[in-house]
């Protein structure tokens, strides 16, 4: 097999905070993230939000699909199948790296990687961004977005974002 240690920049480097023209990009630590699935989960958790809802607070619930949500910083729930509540719970805190992009050029930057606008709503926070399956939502303010990315691809995602920012900032003149 081929030794590619020099080909790939050491993991972790891309995750550092960086600032660009009209945006800031940083990693955010979550206390907990849990997948909760049930056939009627969205009726049970009407507060589960999608796009372009502005989500506030420390704990909140993301709507992912009609039978699944992501509970962020919620109270502790045991992993497994809860037969009383008829719901499946899995701790995925360390499976998802969370990034926060803020600033007036947040949406312009995200548009480098997804067809996304505040006028096109979605019940789900799931989408593709730069080719990665992520959960994305507005957080606290109108020009801040949080993005949950699969842990193993967090470096690549950050790299894609940085490169897109470079392209965005380079002028054609």
């Amino acid at each position: 097999m081929r030794d590619d240690r020099m080909k790939w920049a050491p993991a972790g480097r891309e995750l550092a905070t960086f600032e660009g023209d009209g945006f800031r990009f940083q990693c955010v630590t979550m206390q907990s993230q849990a997948l909760v699935s049930a056939s009627d989960i969205l009726t049970r958790m009407p507060d589960a939000l999608g796009w372009p809802d502005v989500i506030c607070g420390q704990s909140y619930v993301l709507s992912l699909r009609r039978d699944r949500v992501l509970v962020v910083n919620g109270p502790f729930v045991q992993d497994g199948w809860d037969s009383e509540l008829s719901q499946a719970v899995s701790d995925v805190t360390d499976a998802l790296t969370v990034f926060e992009i803020s600033g007036p050029n947040t949406l312009a930057l995200m548009r480098r990687g997804a067809e996304i606008s505040f006028e096109a709503p979605s019940r789900s926070a799931s989408r593709l961004l730069f080719g990665f399956g992520v959960f994305a939502y507005r957080y606290e303010s109108h020009d801040t977005v949080r993005v949950h990315v699969n842990h193993a691809h967090s470096d690549a995602f950050a790299q894609a974002l940085r490169q897109a920012a470079t392209r965005m900032q380079a002028t054609l003149t």
Binding site: M1, R2, D3, D4, R5, K7, W8, A9, P10, A11, G12, L35, S37, A38, S39, D67, R68, G80, W81, S83, S86, A88, S90, D91, V92, T93, D94, A95, L96, A108, R111, R112, A114, E115, I116, S117, E119, A120, G131, N150, H151, A152, H153, S154, D155, A156, Q159, A160, Q163, A164, R167, M168, A170, T171, L172, T173
Partner: protein
């Protein structure tokens, strides 16, 4: 000098002179010039050569429809091939050179090819070059074909920005009608984008006199100001190059020369097409001569660049639009004689230099012949979007017919050539009000190519297609428009037929004596004008192309001098140590067999199945019976696809009545998860089964070897590790450092193994603790290469390596469920298809080489002896075994189970060796080490 710069006018900045070269000679132009306008200003007319006959070529027009002035252009050390001189804005220091001409466009050694034109007609190459075969002639033809040379340099940073956007109304075209429509739309409150492919918007307005009482520049400025102050966006130098399904419009925003254009993927609510129309050539004898140009094009050169294309101009036109153009040129200082070509036969006189035009026998002196054969609406984007075309007899043109959803055409693109009418109509469309009904004052006498008339008459200037070629095509029955095009190659040059499609169609219609609309049109395809591949590629390259997944423990591995390899979509340690890997891997195998190795197994899948039907579902998904698996226990099994083929193998652990974890192979996680999500909804009740992929939440460290228990005992896990308390193929839960861990006794090496899983946050602490504990007894980290050898020594398969897309579980020795499992499972019926029951199926076997021989090659075939070799199977895994101190191999072999002990022939790249079939397990077949 025929063409020259007049001392006033144009949109150029005469205070900013720029210096450039063309074919080695130096010239001066101004900021705002294109290469073509600057060369014409300097009296240079010959800017290229035609593709086939190498006839001299000058620019036909001033913008995208020019097929002739193609150049390689170098700036700042980077040369771009095939630049259209008419659309390349001049920059200081540009070095342009003609393509497919040597040594220059002015004097091309291959100009002599024109003497052979009689034989180099359309399709001549189909009739010859057959003997002895095409290969004899191809190299010469290839060298002669092609336009520009391409630099072998990689242009770093020539990477396009790509962005998505949306708006309410997109107006394509910033001429008069586009501007008027956009302004109205903005004033109704819409979010409007207007795109125009020129640096200065205004389209052809600068050719006209006053517009609604204002000078063109002022009128344009007023519209732009109104649009922008109303929140609309005006995008200049931006080409709408294609419209795709669901109104996805591709825009290429161009910048300075050498900058990669920006791709916009725009999704508008509605599209107003104001793309204009092109002046049509007239087909007459020698109409390809330099100096025969578009009348509108000449007026563009004058209006935008202050260049008069000739001093003594003869105009040939068949329509009412030409008169004002002739006057404009006169006012600029040219002598103009207007001629009517509809009544007779015309012929351009002259070679590289035009001397005049002969019309019906009468000679008229001219250094320039300007033609206007009518206007052809630019309907490319309309057709991309699926809009229909109607033939308009008055205009002798195809105009937009039935509209695609959400799209509307205005202005000359819609066949409205009266400016005021077009403006009123465009405003109504912009504001979404009723469109006025007015009759056009535009008059035209049909003037089309006349087959059979004298002289060489060009249809496609770049590809050198003449009327005679169209006649030939008709004669040979290539009469459909697509046959015509492909046989003659008309319309297939870099201008994609902008000037040749109509005349080609009309010529064929005349030959067939049928109306033009019956002959049809060719298909319009994106891109409207050629776009650099970089536009489409964006930043998807190098490590951003299919990026690998990264391990949480990667920093630890790097610190331990790991060689990181790409496997199964992850970057992971292949072995530890620098330099030649062989010895490192060898030592790691021995370490595991003698002491223990510590291995990062994090990529292994951890897909949880939860719910009241979890047991039934897992039993349905797996080949093996899982329903009888008790909580705390682990079972090895196969996932089959519907064809009964082994898709993945892995272990299933039951954590509770309603909870299972499937540990599928690392490279297949996404595929297995998707497979399970599909099947959960089919033949099962999705309200009672949930699939949670928790793979990336966990890091897994495997401690494997006879001393594995000792290592684990030294760290505090709260788990009873003794053999009787924790047997092979069971799973226990505990804690480490306060965090929950799961430990499974599962082995991929054949040694006592513990797979310890912990959430990523604690992974480093766990890894370091195990390493420290291991170091005290001489154990250390091992990589995937050693693991590959260890598992092969045990005969443990890798799906996709030791199996292929035909392998069923009974080929691997797992026969019972196929015969005995009663519950339905994915693939069950397929296992009993005729092919599943055949007795000569390929089964997994081991292979031993003759004593002292080298190891077998993976990929070698096992062949039946005989006059013609026949494949019986393959060598799928092959290694020099450090444990057994000899080569070992696994393979798939027809009737393998019945051939144990047989000698077989192995064929590889023409050479054969012999080997012996043996059971596919070379080490500890009783599994004594596993149960330790």
């Amino acid at each position: 000098m025929t063409s020259y710069r007049i001392d006033h006018g144009g949109l150029i900045d005469r205070t900013r002179p720029l210096v450039f070269t063309f074919d080695g000679r130096s010239y001066t132009g101004f900021d705002g010039d294109t290469l073509a306008s600057a060369l014409l200003a300097n009296g240079v007319r010959i800017m290229g050569r035609s593709f086939k006959y190498h006839r001299p070529r000058g620019p036909w027009s001033a913008w995208v429809d020019d097929p002739n002035a193609i150049m390689n252009v170098k700036l700042n050390g980077r040369e771009f091939p095939n630049c259209a001189a008419t659309t390349t804005y001049l920059e200081d220091g540009m070095a342009a050179r003609s393509v497919n001409a040597f040594p220059s466009a002015q004097f091309d050694v291959k100009g002599g090819l024109d003497l052979m034109h009689r034989w180099l007609t359309a399709g001549f190459y189909y009739k010859t070059f057959m003997w002895p075969n095409w290969h004899l002639f191809e190299p010469v033809i290839r060298k002669m074909a092609g336009l520009g040379e391409i630099s072998r340099d990689v242009f770093e940073d020539y990477v396009s920005d790509q962005v998505h956007d949306c708006c309410d109304t997109l107006v394509i075209g910033g001429g008069g009608t586009g501007l008027a429509a956009a302004r109205e739309a903005v004033e109704t409150g819409e979010n409007v984008i207007l795109v125009d492919d020129q640096k200065t918007v205004g389209g052809g307005l600068f050719r006209t006199g006053l517009i609604e009482g204002q000078a063109a520049a002022d009128w344009v400025e007023a519209q732009v100001a109104a649009i922008e102050s109303g929140g609309g966006r005006v995008m200049r130098a931006t080409t709408a190059f294609g419209i795709h399904d669901h109104k996805l419009v591709g825009l290429a925003e161009h910048g300075k020369f050498g900058c990669p254009p920006r791709l916009w993927r725009l999704r508008p609510g509605r599209i107003i097409l104001a793309s204009g129309a092109l002046d049509r050539p007239i087909t007459f004898a020698n109409n390809d001569r330099p100096g025969v140009m578009s009348l509108d094009g000449a007026c563009e050169f004058l209006a935008r660049y202050g260049v008069l294309v000739g001093r003594n101009i003869a105009t040939l036109s068949n329509n009412s639009g030409a008169e004002s153009s002739a006057r404009t040129l006169e006012q600029a200082g040219a002598n103009v004689v207007t001629l009517d070509p509809t009544a007779g036969h015309a012929c351009a006189i002259g070679g590289k230099r035009l001397r005049g035009v002969e019309l019906n026998g009468a000679f008229h002196y001219a250094d320039t012949i300007l033609c206007s054969g009518g206007q052809t609406p630019l309907v490319h984007l309309w057709r991309h979007a699926g809009g229909k075309l109607d033939w308009n007899d008055d205009l002798q043109a195809f105009v937009p017919g039935k509209a695609p959803e959400g799209m509307i055409a205005v202005g000359s693109a819609n066949g409205f050539f009266d400016l005021q009418h077009a403006l009123d109509d465009a405003r109504a469309v912009g504001a979404d009000t009723a469109r006025p009904n007015k009759k056009s004052s535009y008059k035209l006498t049909p003037l089309w190519p006349k087959p059979g008339s004298k002289g060489r008459q060009w249809i496609d200037f770049q590809h050198d297609v003449t009327i005679k070629d169209v006649e030939l095509a008709a004669r040979e029955n290539y009469v459909s428009v697509e046959h015509l095009k492909r046989y003659t190659t008309l319309g297939m040059a870099s201008d994609q037929g902008k000037t040749s499609n109509m005349s080609g169609l009309a010529a064929m219609a005349a030959v067939l004596d049928r109306p033009i609309p019956e002959v049809g049109t060719t298909t319009f395809r994106p891109p409207f004008v050629p776009q650099p591949l970089a536009l489409y590629a964006g930043q998807r390259k190098a490590t951003l192309f299919s990026p690998l997944k990264r391990l949480k423990l990667e920093p630890e591995h790097r610190a331990a001098d790991a060689a990181l390899v790409e496997y199964g979509g992850w970057l992971r340690p292949g072995w530890f140590g620098s330099g030649d890997p062989t010895e490192h891997i060898f030592n790691e195998v021995q370490l595991v067999r003698e002491t223990a190795g510590i291995f990062d197994a994090s990529p292994l899948g951890k897909i949880e199945i939860l719910g009241p039907d979890a047991e039934a579902f897992v039993n349905f998904a797996f080949y093996n019976t899982i329903a009888t698996l008790k909580p705390g226990h682990v079972r090895y099994g196969f996932l089959l696809n519907e064809r009964g083929i082994v898709m993945d193998d892995g272990v299933v652990a039951r954590l509770g009545d309603n909870r299972f974890v499937i540990s599928c192979s690392s490279g297949h996680v996404d595929h297995v998860r998707d497979h399970l999500e599909v099947w959960r909804q089919d033949c099962n009740d999705p309200e009672r089964i949930f699939v949670h992929d928790t793979t990336q939440h966990w890091s897994t460290v495997t401690v494997t070897g006879p001393r594995a228990r000792d290592i684990l005992e030294k760290i505090d896990t709260r788990i009873e590790l003794a053999a009787d308390a924790f047997p092979h193929m069971t799973v226990r839960e505990g804690t480490f450092d306060g965090a929950p861990i799961r430990v499974a006794r599962v082995s991929f090496t054949g040694e006592l193994s513990f797979e310890v899983s912990i959430r990523n946050t604690y992974a480093t602490a766990l890894w370091n603790a195990l390493l420290k504990s291991g170091a005290s007894i001489g154990a250390g980290p091992v990589g995937s290469e050693a693991m590959m050898i260890l598992r092969a020594e045990k005969g443990y398969i890798i799906v996709g390596k030791d199996t292929d897309g035909l392998t069923m579980p009974h080929d691997l020795g797992f026969t019972v469920p196929r015969l005995k499992k009663k519950a339905a499972f994915i693939g069950d019926r397929s296992l009993h298809m005729q092919v599943g029951n055949e007795t000569d199926r390929r089964a997994l076997v081991g292979l031993e080489v003759d004593t002292g021989s080298a190891m077998l090659s993976t990929g070698a075939h096992i062949v039946a002896d005989g006059s013609k070799p026949r494949t019986l199977g393959y060598v799928t895994s092959s290694y020099d075994s450090p444990t057994l101190k000899r080569p070992i191999a696994l393979g798939l072999l027809e009737q393998g189970a019945e051939r144990i002990g047989e000698k077989i022939t192995v064929w590889h790249l023409g050479k054969t060796v012999t080997a012996t079939v043996c059971p596919p397990c070379f080490y500890d077949p009783e599994g004594v080490h596993l149960d330790a």
